[in-house]
Symmetry: C2
Subunit: 339 residues, 2 copies
Amino acid sequence: MTTAGSSKHGAAVTMRDVAKLSGVSVSTVSHVVNDKPGARIGKDARRRVQEAVEQLGYRPNVLAKTLSRGTSAFIGLVADEIATTPFAGQIIHGAQDEAWKHGFVLLVANTDGNAAVEDDAIAMMLEHQVRGILYSSWYHREISVPEALHQTDTILVDCFADGSGLPAVVPDEEQGGRTATEELLAHGHRRIAFLNTTTPSPAQTGRLAGYRSALEAAGIGFDPALVLPVAPDQGGGYAGTSHVVDSGASAVFCHNDRVAMGVYDGLRERGLRIPDDVAVIGFDNQDVIAAHLRPTLSTVALPHYELGAAGVRMLLGVDPAPDDEPRLVACPPVLRHSV
Amino acid sequence: MTTAGSSKHGAAVTMRDVAKLSGVSVSTVSHVVNDKPGARIGKDARRRVQEAVEQLGYRPNVLAKTLSRGTSAFIGLVADEIATTPFAGQIIHGAQDEAWKHGFVLLVANTDGNAAVEDDAIAMMLEHQVRGILYSSWYHREISVPEALHQTDTILVDCFADGSGLPAVVPDEEQGGRTATEELLAHGHRRIAFLNTTTPSPAQTGRLAGYRSALEAAGIGFDPALVLPVAPDQGGGYAGTSHVVDSGASAVFCHNDRVAMGVYDGLRERGLRIPDDVAVIGFDNQDVIAAHLRPTLSTVALPHYELGAAGVRMLLGVDPAPDDEPRLVACPPVLRHSV
DNA sequence: CTGAAAGCGCTAACAT
DNA sequence: ATGTTAGCGCTTTCAG
């Protein structure tokens, strides 16, 4: 029966209160509440302390604890627009879960890509004595590292900065492109179009490289005429449909799910059926799109959750960071009904 | 010229270091770094301290500060699946921004709706001496309040618990439904179908009430035959299209954007054009859907960002909470091209 | 104008 | 087996 000791704002119950009530010293209390290894505590004292804790509703003050131990349990996560972005929010989720698993709590800051806010955020984290910082982007790209980040351990997540010496963890775009293409190949397609993005990025080059390598591994020559760069959105996909159809391809690999969404529109307009007339596969696995298109869209997932989790692991040294090279996280296929 | 004092993990620079270097006492340092109101500090001493701060790269230790002042600057946000959910992540974003504005930092915990995790999360926050907790849901609904929440100030965000006595802030579903309907009315439609959800919820009843009230205000009788409850997703919208078409309606208000997405498919299949043959308006403003459909979807936005911000304001007492009744936040129309 | 000193809640030797 | 004591980094009276 808890007598709600620390209710609301009445000065919180401290260790001293517990000590007094149970008739022992604070250090004894400290030992029992922390279940210290070499804890030589009498059976009776221990019980009394536990009862007092229960009765007063005592909660340790983590802040005091970290002050005294000199080591905080915070991990900072600065995000440009992650929280703003649908699926990329999983980075936070993954980091959160992994951090907790190791007894750390996440301090998240959304900067909206604003450099000033970013500096404030980092300063704030440093003032909170974070164990380290995860600096992340909502899409895979090269970034330039804010000066302040060098004042603590930092890991780049879903972004990288060659030459900065900072460890990074990013999606394996090439393997993703290969996986998508292989999926199409596995369904017997030989003439596969690729609606790539017009935007220079690791995704652009990586996915293309994967597409080529899958083709080559299957003994199919790379035909430049089958690749068309389009705006990486619904409009681009819609516009690119004619090229795909004219090229005589029986399947198309779209740079992302939004492009695929546009292709759906284009194909439908021409009375072509998916996947019978043309099979389509996307990339990103944006749930709101992929799972709700008709037919549902087969695609390759960006491993956001895993990126966040891996970032934390690297920061904590659980997972040693590879030298120099960013660590690659696999992009798994998500099979639905468009192939 | 900063001589990077606190680089990496070398014992952080403390106030004492600054005091020593500038030849004053810690209390003086404290006064100048905090720019204390009644700060009678000599021009010279002040300068020396500032130089020392600069030179050593001193950063106050917030944890020590809160310990000493007894008042922490954390606000907890426990979310069921918000971070997991596309647009609802804006609740976090809004809360974050507003918290910062007042000098607080957010401690976010995703619980995935797991009660045990939830209890842990709340305990964690209490141990971090949070100023209060924002308990939020990823969609508007009634929840039952975890016991532990009563140990601190808490605000319910995008959810409510009648009789719990806890202040809540939720979207104004009825006004939203009215707004959507009015938009259709403004474009001359008189026969407006409503594809509502089959799921009992504040959204279901609220939006319906708004629909009716807009109709009545326009002198149009409510026709039950125009309202069809469907599964609140793409499939439901697709299936409901025939009812809409058969009813002879020239416009349809969809319970949410996913339903609208299905209606798009259904309409297209029948060769009907949007908005010429049938005008469509959604609800939720799920960006990935609404902004990328063709034509782009007019809809009503769920004010997630504002819910988060309002929650923080209520918690901090900036915005007094209305008694008993949840505070309603308006759902603004987002006009695009489907009406 | 500035400094000494007493805490904030907790941990960690060191005594007993 | 348990208590004492000295901090952790900072704020805040209260004296000089």
